[in-house]
């Protein structure tokens, strides 16, 4: 796209923001002002940018996606099929705007959970010290836009040494056509706390819209968080997401990200192990077809000694779909005795499907254990033969192996109702494939 289009597109977006009222909090106004400045000095990325070389987002500018407006007409009956039986703490956002009536917190004593404006006065100092601190936006136009528009958002604070029994379900429902929503999430796990957080993007109809989300997660010493992220947007949607995680001493972060929806999606996940003995497990599954494009960029940054990271990312691409995985692992000079593994496995189900995978290891410490591997291929002939020798037809064998390829990642989701939904989604997609 030309520079002029890119600039006018961003200007147009910013103008639509000008009408919004200023917040009462000076720090929040300053944060937005900085973000607006950043937007004005940046351009939309193109394939000439190394970080975007496989992902052309120019279709995004074809429509003037206006900011979404709150719509309070949605009733619980319209959306309760999206709720999870075993996640009784639920914050619901409709087109990025919090819905009190659709939300419910089963454990109000165990955690602080609500939307940003509601918690702003009671938790001002903690919010000020976290919001906007983990996802930088000076070189990231989408994060800058999200921050410029920052008004609403999900906030979850788990107090010290508290174990939240039920998962917290952050449900982002898209309902409108041709709008942009700017979801924002903040999870603060105080020292020794435990929580399971589900970040779930769904659509009520096959609409074209943009989701531009930012998620920030901060875990203090010995805090544990399981973060399940499900992107099941409309097949016409654009989904641009940034998530940053900061891990303190001996904290533990486990994430499973599932990408099923959107015409074009991009997920940036940055995990920083900022203190000793932090641990993370980062798993991902992309399952796409037709002409979908799904790009996942992760960066795991080991800054201190004795850290552990394990990453497994899988892509299944059918038809003319295109999956991208870029997994960077940095081990800084101080980060001795780091133990890190990364595996990228990719399955192509058609001749026109494409996968670009790029492991990137930057290791500056000498006493480390790091392994990585990447494979792109079709199903294994020996595996197919094994199943056929047990009576399964070739099609049934292929379908089962494709399902299994995806289900291995889904089986790591610790919320059974969500796991079942996703297993079914993988089953539907893999069984539709008589090869």
């Amino acid at each position: 796209m030309s520079e002029a289009i890119s600039t006018s597109y961003l200007e147009c977006l910013l103008k639509s923001w000008q009408a919004k009222p200023a917040e009462s909090r000076a720090w929040l106004n300053q944060l937005r002002a900085r973000a607006i400045d950043c937007v004005s000095t940046q351009k939309l990325p193109t394939k000439r940018d190394e970080e975007w070389r496989f992902t052309d987002i120019s279709p995004l500018t074809a429509l003037p996606y206006r900011p979404s407006q709150p719509d309070s007409t949605l009733k619980i009956e319209d959306v309760q099929h999206l709720f999870l039986d075993d996640a009784k703490n639920r914050l619901v956002f409709v087109d990025g705007h919090f819905s009190q009536s659709l939300s419910a917190i089963a454990e109000p004593a165990a955690l602080i959970a609500g939307n940003l404006p509601a918690l702003l006065s009671a938790h001002a100092s903690i919010l000020e010290s976290h919001v906007g601190h983990y996802v930088p936006f000076d070189h990231n136009v989408f994060a800058a836009l999200n921050t410029a528009f920052l008004q609403d958002g999900a906030v979850v604070i788990v107090p010290k040494n508290t174990v939240v029994a039920e998962p917290v379900h952050l449900l982002f429902i898209a309902t409108q056509h041709e709008v942009t929503s700017y979801p924002r999430c903040l999870l603060i796990g105080e020292a020794g706390s435990h929580i399971t957080l589900i970040e779930d993007y769904v659509a009520l109809q096959q609409a074209a819209y943009i989701t531009n989300s930012v998620t920030e997660i901060s875990l203090a010493g010995n805090a544990h968080a399981k973060h399940i992220r499900v992107q099941r947007e409309s097949a016409k949607a654009f989904h641009l997401a940034n998530c940053a995680v900061s891990l303190a001493h001996a904290s533990n972060y486990q994430s499973v990200s599932i990408t099923l929806g959107s015409q074009i999606s991009r997920y940036n996940l940055d995990v920083r192990l900022t203190d000793e003995a932090a641990e993370c497990t980062i798993d991902g599954l992309t399952l796409i077809s037709d002409r979908q494009l799904a790009d996942t960029h992760t960066c795991i940054d080991h800054a201190k000694p004795n850290g552990t990271s394990h990453q497994q990312h899988k892509c299944i691409a059918d038809d003319a779909a295109h999956a991208v995985f870029n997994g960077k692992i940095i081990v800084r000079p101080q980060a001795q005795r780091t133990n890190s593994s990364q595996s990228s496995r990719n399955l192509l189900l058609s001749k026109t499907a494409q996968v670009d995978t790029k492991p990137q290891l930057e290791i500056f410490a000498d006493d480390v254990k790091c392994s990585h591997g990447a494979t792109v291929g079709q199903l294994d002939q020996e595996e197919i033969f094994y199943l056929r020798s047990r009576g399964l037809s070739e099609t049934a064998a292929r379908n089962l192996l494709t399902y299994a390829f995806g289900a291995e990642i889904i089986s790591r989701i610790p919320v059974s109702s969500l796991r079942q939904q996703l297993e079914q989604a993988v089953l539907d997609q893999t069984q539709s494939n008589p090869s």
């Binding site: 294994d380 002939q381 020996e382 595996e383 033969f385 094994y386 199943l387 056929r388 020798s389 047990r390 009576g391 399964l392 037809s393 070739e394 049934a396 064998a397 089962l400 192996l401 399902y403 299994a404 390829f405 995806g406 289900a407 291995e408 990642i409 889904i410 089986s411």
Partner: protein
């Protein structure tokens, strides 16, 4: 057991097969009748495992000559799944791991596919659970076996037991056990052998492909065949295995020089 006038299950004649243009099987003749247990022994590279895979229909091997009759069917015309449904079973030397699929799900799928083919009722998950647990007792398997992914993280012994469990479930007419004893300690070997002995009867037949005589202490064969360079070069009773154990394979080569000359 050798039974007089017992029906022939498998008849292999002059079987030749190659992989990537290299001939591995150079004319195998073998007849297996109902109730019999045959052992096929031989050194590495003699073609034993290839023979097992060709019987099961592995697509990497090209059959270039000969015939395989399985009961009333021409086996070479059937794809692997139809051979399985017709009652042929191969216990793999290296069973495949399938992360993401629960063992019970896989076992039920295989069982029901074969049952349907035989015109019998499928079992629902609950019925199957009772059925499979009964069979698992044969092999002294722990119940958590069912919930784990197929062969994933199984020890060598557990994988082989899982193979024999499938054999017990699918009730084949002919089972081919490819190096089932490899990688087993003596306790696991006894369990596996005991399982096999309880499955074999006068209406089915078994081919044991093995390196060592050790397995044959526990599953006693009616016939022992020695394979060399893609051919069965000697056939005897169970005592032949013992002789091979003490004398090795060299003396057979020496005795069989004329036969080797024919293949050249």
């Amino acid at each position: 057991m050798i039974i007089a006038n017992s029906p022939t299950i498998l008849s292999v004649q002059g079987l030749r097969a190659s992989i990537n243009g290299t001939e591995i099987l150079k004319g195998i003749d073998l007849t297996v009748r109902s109730g019999e247990i045959h052992a096929i022994m031989g050194l590495n590279g003699s073609g034993k495992s290839t023979f097992a895979k060709v019987l099961a229909g592995h697509s990497a091997y090209e059959v270039t000559g000969g015939s395989i009759q399985f009961e009333d069917k021409n086996l070479l015309e059937l794809p692997p799944e139809e051979r399985a449904r017709a009652g042929l079973f191969l216990a793999f030397q290296y069973p495949i791991e399938i992360p993401g699929v629960a063992n019970t799900q896989f076992l039920r799928l295989a069982y029901n596919t074969v049952q349907t083919q035989r015109g019998k009722e499928e079992l629902d998950p609950l019925e199957f659970d009772d059925f499979v647990r009964e069979k698992m007792k044969l092999l002294e398997m722990k119940p958590d076996f069912l919930d784990r992914s197929v062969n994933e993280g199984f020890s060598g012994g557990e994988k082989k037991r899982n193979e024999i469990l499938q054999m017990a479930l699918l009730e084949p007419r002919l089972s081919i056990l490819d190096e089932t004893d490899s990688g087993l300690d003596i306790d696991a070997l006894k369990i596996v052998a005991n399982g096999v002995n309880r499955i074999t009867n006068k209406d089915n037949a078994t081919i044991l492909v093995t390196h060592y005589q050790r397995l044959l202490d526990y599953i006693v064969p009616d016939f022992v065949h020695v394979m060399q360079a893609g051919r069965i070069v000697m056939t005897g009773g169970k005592e032949l295995a013992l002789e091979l154990e003490t004398r090795g394979y060299d003396w057979i080569t020496a005795n069989k020089q004329p036969a080797a000359g024919v293949s050249a």
